[in-house]
């Protein structure tokens, strides 16, 4: 088996007395798309935040192509630009236009300049159907548009893997589709992706593997067909019954 792009080894994380992650083991292969499902509070978001080192982990390790990126004291700058993350609440910079939001990090971090960078950014906007909105400010955009800009902003750093933290959860139902279309597009381009999501239909359609999390552990994982049609574990069955009704 080829070395995993990203590996989680026995990750434990507590916030005070709240033991959120209780030993997570997960391998993500290059080009693979994995959906994390589970109830709110099951640890999905925390796991994503631990992977890109927004939270420090208590036990275990996160390996990016074999390199331990959870080791205390390493320079996280180079690591973070290889891992893109998009949050539920978009977190665009409100004082910058959509285009400026996208250009900031490539300019400051990758030291890209001028025409080539702007062309690349413009292409990204065109690819995701937002060319008409590049000059607008975040509060002039709908939630779905803002979330797509957030995706473009992350992609502009040319990440090797993308993390999505329930990025459709804050959207009006009619706007969910346009954001999922973006993910579908990325999937077709072979981007390595790890998603925490409540969109079961989407997970079933596109994921290579689905992991059901509950109580800070991955209770069950497998191909979507198996998880959604023949879950083996009782808790997975209960969860799916409650959300798929």
């Amino acid at each position: 088996m080829p070395e995993a792009k990203l590996s989680c080894r026995g990750i434990q994380k507590s916030f005070g007395d709240n033991h959120v992650l209780r030993g997570i083991d997960l391998d993500v292969a290059e080009g693979e798309m994995i959906c994390l499902i589970g109830a709110s509070g099951s640890g999905k978001s925390t796991l994503l935040r631990c992977i890109n080192q927004l939270e420090t982990i208590d036990e275990g390790a996160v390996l990016l192509e074999g390199q331990d990126i959870s080791e205390p004291g390493i320079d996280l700058g180079p690591v973070r630009r290889r891992i893109g993350i998009v949050f539920q609440s978009y977190n665009l910079f409100p004082h910058m236009s959509a285009l400026e939001n996208v250009l900031l990090a490539p300019r400051r971090v990758l030291h890209e300049q001028g025409g080539a960078l702007e062309t690349r950014a413009t292409e990204l906007f065109e690819r995701f159907g937002l060319a008409a909105h590049m000059q607008k400010y975040p509060d002039q955009l709908s939630g779905g548009q803002q979330q797509r800009v957030a995706v473009i902003r992350a992609l502009a750093m040319r990440p090797e893997i993308m993390l999505f933290d329930e990025i459709t959860a804050a959207l009006d139902p009619e706007l969910v589709g346009e954001v999922l279309a973006v993910l579908r597009h990325l999937r077709s381009e072979g981007m390595t992706m790890l998603l925490a999501t409540h969109e079961m239909g989407f997970a079933r359609e596109l994921a290579d593997r689905v992991c059901f999390m509950d109580g800070g552990v991955i209770v069950e994982e497998g191909p979507p067909e198996q998880i959604f049609t023949a879950p083996r574990v009782t808790r997975t069955q209960e969860f799916l019954r409650s959300v798929l009704r």
Partner: protein, 269 residues
């Protein structure tokens, strides 16, 4: 015009009438009643002498230019130092801990001492060291006193602005790989500064008035010039002139600041 519009128009007319009548009553009462006070003729003669007003106005206006000048060169210094202190107070790295302490002590001291006292202590104290010209100028040390005091206030205002920016903004920037420094410079500060514009505008209006306190240590600006006229003419009208001149500047300035803020808000909604 439909029924609702007719109703609203009637309501508007009614409010306008009420506002007009009540304003008229209050103004009329002041005009009619104040002159009935026993001391009014004396007060009018010593505070509202039209001839003294006309006579002293041009010179006082010229003296006011000194206030404007001191104000104008103090503002960039205050903003610069205030920002530096605010950043020092927010420094996270342990190596910069002394800077944090310094920032905290600085703010405590200069917010804790009345401006007038700082002006006296610095304005008289430092030239007392026997510095050669031009380094004994009250303009320099008066400015220093104002800058020290006001930058402490501005630092606190900016710090509250920085702290009001949600942590998710910082996280988003950090996740894109931005350094702490770039995150502050490009993401946090621009938002924080914008958010505290009203508070800083109030600071500047207060500063504009406090410049007059430098009259205590020498510069013949408007307040001191008014004092000179008062002694010369045995009349308080020059002080009223000075007050009018201050209002001519501060009222439009605050209105303009409000206008800018509203425009900014409208443009973003």
């Amino acid at each position: 015009m439909n029924r609702r519009q007719a109703y609203e128009a009637a309501q508007r007319r009614r409010s306008l009438t009420v506002a007009g009548v009540s304003t008229f009553v209050v103004v009329a009462a002041i005009i009619l009643l104040v002159p009935l006070a026993p001391g009014w003729p004396a007060v009018r003669a010593s505070f509202f002498d039209g001839q003294v007003f006309a006579e002293t106005f041009p010179t006082l206006l010229r003296a006011f230019m000194i206030d404007i000048m001191i104000f104008a060169w103090s503002v960039p210094l205050i903003m610069g130092l205030g920002l530096a202190i605010a950043l020092a107070r927010g420094a996270r790295s342990p190596a910069l801990f002394p800077l944090r302490i310094f920032g905290a002590v600085y703010v405590d001291i200069f917010r804790g001492v009345p401006v007038v006292l700082t002006i006296y202590l610095i304005g008289f104290g430092i030239p007392g060291l026997g510095l050669p010209r031009p380094w004994n100028s009250p303009y320099i040390w008066g400015t220093v006193a104002l800058v020290l005091t006001y930058s402490a206030y501005v630092a606190e205002v900016l710090r509250s602005g920085i702290e009001s920016i949600h942590a998710s903004q910082r996280n988003a920037a950090i996740c894109l790989g931005l350094s702490e420094r770039d995150t502050m410079r490009y993401v946090i500060l621009p938002q924080a500064i914008r958010r505290v514009v009203p508070a800083n505008m109030n600071m500047l209006v207060a500063l504009q008035k406090d410049v007059a306190l430098l009259s205590f240590i020498g510069p013949v600006e408007i307040l001191r010039q008014a004092g000179i006229y008062k002694s010369l003419l045995a009349n308080f009208t020059p002080y009223v002139v000075a007050a009018v001149i201050f209002l001519l500047v501060t009222v439009p300035a605050t209105r303009y600041a409000d206008y800018l803020l509203n425009r900014d808000r409208d443009a973003r909604s």
